[in-house]
Subunit: 127 residues, 2 copies
């Protein structure tokens, strides 16, 4: 089934620069977004706790990435006006739905990482 243009959403749109997949990948393709979603999978966490959990993330990038996720409606931010202030982050309902496709990707990664690494080494030996 090949139509000349405007194919089904699943096969046609990815070719376009403004396709949904492209836009989502632009968002989650950065260094920290996925790690934050995973880190929040089990429940809420406060800023400093996230920073400890996610190895290597800087304060700037953690803040910046959390803002992006909040803007997308995938993460909620709750400020408890105590002293010192306490801020809780958690996945929203929409954010929780993202866990499944990410887990599929993760399973693929775990299943194929060895194969990919082997291929890379073989390639590097001959090029």
């Amino acid at each position: 089934m090949v139509t000349t243009r405007d194919e089904s959403v699943l096969r046609g749109s990815p070719y376009r620069a403004d396709c949904p997949t492209r836009r989502i990948l632009d968002r989650i393709g950065d260094r920290w977004t996925v790690l934050i979603v995973v880190a929040l999978s089990d429940g809420s966490a406060r800023f400093s706790e996230l920073r400890r959990r996610i190895e290597g993330v800087s304060q700037k990038m953690l803040t910046q990435t959390l803002r992006g996720l909040e803007r997308d409606g995938l993460v909620s931010r709750t400020v408890h006006p105590e002293v010192p202030v306490r801020v809780e982050y958690a996945l929203t309902e929409a954010g929780r739905t993202l866990r499944e496709p990410l887990r599929a990707l993760e399973e693929w990664s775990v299943a194929h990482l060895g194969e990919v690494s082997a291929s890379q080494e073989a390639y590097d030996r001959t090029h």
Copy 2:
């Protein structure tokens, strides 16, 4: 169930900088890799055809990304020694297995893009 450290692979490793998910996302998170995999989903294609199909890709990036995929063993490259030379690219067996998790992500994108866009607009109005 909260363990202090070294959780199960699926829940614990994503926190590490060298976890499989992180490595795979570093690879497919770039601008063109996923689009190429999708463009090759239906079968092989030659270089110039891919360039036409994938809107906006430069010659340099198409070559570079295809080399990366070939190195990972996800795409095969076949040179037909004719004049002018013809080069066919196709997904390998491993490459084809990547379509499923990508499709899951794409379905999520399509299903939630409107919701995400609305959230962004609401956020931008209040910040």
